[in-house]
């Protein structure tokens, strides 16, 4: 039997006194698309950072395809692709050079490198602008370039941390359709975090909802919506599910984190023009 793509058991992560992730148990099967939802400060990004091995596991266990995130960090890194929340490309390099760097870092063999870079750029519809400086790209193009970087090693697990934040609806649709195409072509497992409920509803096989670092519920969008059917709300949306579990409160910490994210995004936006 294939190991689950992600298996978190009693994962707890703290920043000093603050518990960002509290006793998380979550399993994602290989080939599945899982949405991790929750308001700002819910702990989604902390979970993603642990899964990417960027942050060490403090308490609990995390296994990626059976590999231990404490012990087998390098093996895990060879098999994942990661797109962080911020628009993070080298604006002073061309699109092709940005992707080529990742192909080199992931040991894509020299003979295949050019073809794999072109393939990733083509899949993200950036082939025609591949030799332009990435600093001249629009926000949507930058996101697609980041996806090309994350996909050039054909990862078994793709981790997307709010990849469509700050993008207009057309750019968002573009990003998701590329992800869906690549997921179908390579059978990748995808874990994504997003604030857009309609996206999670349309794209995810299952969603997990976090609030204050605690996993509130997991299930298919249909199951979660069905659980909220009532006379007053005969056809609840995933957004209703989100509101049901997250409520409308924003803790002081959540607000502070939200502002930090906005400041960070503005800095990056200035940098990439």
């Amino acid at each position: 039997m294939t190991d689950p793509a992600i298996d978190c058991s009693h994962l707890t992560h703290r920043y000093g006194e603050f518990t960002a992730v509290d006793d998380l148990n979550l399993t994602v099967q290989a080939g599945e698309t899982m949405g991790l939802l929750g308001p700002n400060g819910a702990g989604k990004t902390s979970v993603v950072r642990v899964l990417t091995t960027l942050t060490p596991v403090q308490d609990g266990t995390v296994r990626i395809f059976g590999l231990d995130a404490r012990r087998d960090t390098m093996d895990i890194r060879h098999n994942i692709g990661y797109v962080p929340q911020q628009l993070s490309i080298e604006a002073a390099l061309t699109g092709r050079q940005n992707v080529d760097l990742f192909a080199r870092l992931y040991d894509v063999p020299r003979k295949q490198r050019r073809a794999r870079v072109d393939e990733a750029l083509d899949a993200m519809q950036l082939f025609d602008v591949a030799d332009a400086l990435a600093g001249t790209y629009s926000g949507g193009m930058v996101r697609r370039l980041e996806l090309a970087q994350a996909l050039v090693n054909r990862p078994a697990l793709l981790l997307l941390d709010e990849p469509t934040v700050g993008l207009d609806p057309i750019a968002r649709d573009g990003v998701w359709s590329q992800v869906a195409d690549m997921q179908q072509e390579y059978g990748m497992t995808v874990l994504l975090t997003t604030h857009y409920m309609e996206e999670a509803d349309a794209l995810c096989d299952r969603v997990a909802l976090m609030h204050h670092g605690v996993l509130q519920t997991v299930g298919t969008p249909t199951e979660l919506k069905a659980g909220l059917v009532s006379e007053a709300a005969p056809e609840p949306s995933l957004e209703d599910v989100f509101r049901h579990y997250a409520g409308s409160d924003l803790s002081e910490d959540g607000t502070r984190r939200g502002l930090k994210e906005i400041r960070s995004s503005r800095r990056v936006a200035r940098r990439v023009g």
Partner: protein
């Protein structure tokens, strides 16, 4: 996108043994290449950075050479000064590399790179190499200016190449020092202040402007532990033919650069936590 039965995943394993060394070297090369690519897209920096060393040679050097107050052991003051100015301009290039890495952290680039299979040492070495390459451009500029001013520096291409290698080593150390400070203070503004605070003391506590013999004893002690002095010694021996222990100077620079890479690499992960 639903999951039907077991999906066979072929995991890529991290290289072991000697293959790890080869991969590490390739990744260092990849980071070095990226820095060169950035330079080719914007060469203005190379020219603007030449202004300061030119002013030091043209104004400070010319004026002090007329005063005849510094005993340089029979070497004309301008010739004595030129290698010091090369080392100084390389120091000024390198000492702000920490700010660049904090900038990469803020832009999310560092996090993305840190979840690739590239170890921190590869990233740090690549950045250090880039600082060296930028500094080599300064060597060429100062040499051309020195020849135009009639300063008698060597024309021997092998000695010039060796001088460039010395500058690369010195720059690598100071870039690592800057990235080490970045790992400690983790804040761009604070780092900028520290960079400015240490640059001039490093410069004045070296033999770049005056020989060690004219220094007060306490400054001589500082100069003896300042890698910039060893860099200047080696440059004077190579470009002017002044007697010196070039082997010792180069050994100190190699050891300093290796230690710098190790310490900066160990602290790099602190930046993204």
């Amino acid at each position: 996108m639903s999951v039907d039965g077991a999906i066979h995943i072929e995991l890529v394993r991290a290289p072991h043994g000697l293959r790890r060394v080869g991969c590490l070297l390739r990744r260092m090369g990849a980071f070095g290449l990226v820095e060169l690519q950035k330079l080719t897209h914007d060469r203005t920096e190379l020219f603007t950075r030449m202004v300061q060393p030119a002013l030091w040679l043209l104004i400070f050097g010319t004026t002090f050479s007329r005063l005849h107050v510094i005993d340089t052991g029979g070497v004309p003051y301008l010739a004595f000064l030129a290698p010091g100015i090369i080392a100084q301009s390389a120091l000024f290039v390198s000492i702000f590399y920490g700010i660049q890495i904090v900038w990469d952290r803020d832009a999310g680039i560092l996090a993305k790179l840190m979840v690739t299979p590239a170890p921190p040492a590869a990233l740090i070495t690549g950045k250090s190499f880039a600082a060296g390459v930028r500094s080599v451009a300064q060597v060429v500029g100062v040499l051309v200016l020195a020849y135009l001013m009639g300063i008698h520096l060597t024309f021997n291409p092998l000695r010039i190449l060796a001088a460039m290698a010395v500058v690369v080593l010195g720059s690598a150390f100071f870039a690592c020092l800057s990235m080490t400070l970045a790992g400690l203070v983790r804040n761009r503004d604070r780092l900028m202040g520290i960079g400015q605070a240490i640059t001039m003391p490093l410069f004045f506590a070296s033999n770049a402007l005056y020989p060690v013999d004219v220094m007060p004893p306490w400054l001589r002690t500082l100069s003896a532990v300042n890698p910039l002095s060893y860099e200047v010694n080696a440059l004077r021996a190579l470009l002017l033919g002044t007697p010196g222990n070039t082997l010792l100077d180069v050994t100190v620079l190699v050891v300093a650069a290796v230690l710098g890479v190790l310490v900066a690499s160990a602290l790099l992960r602190r930046l993204v936590r």
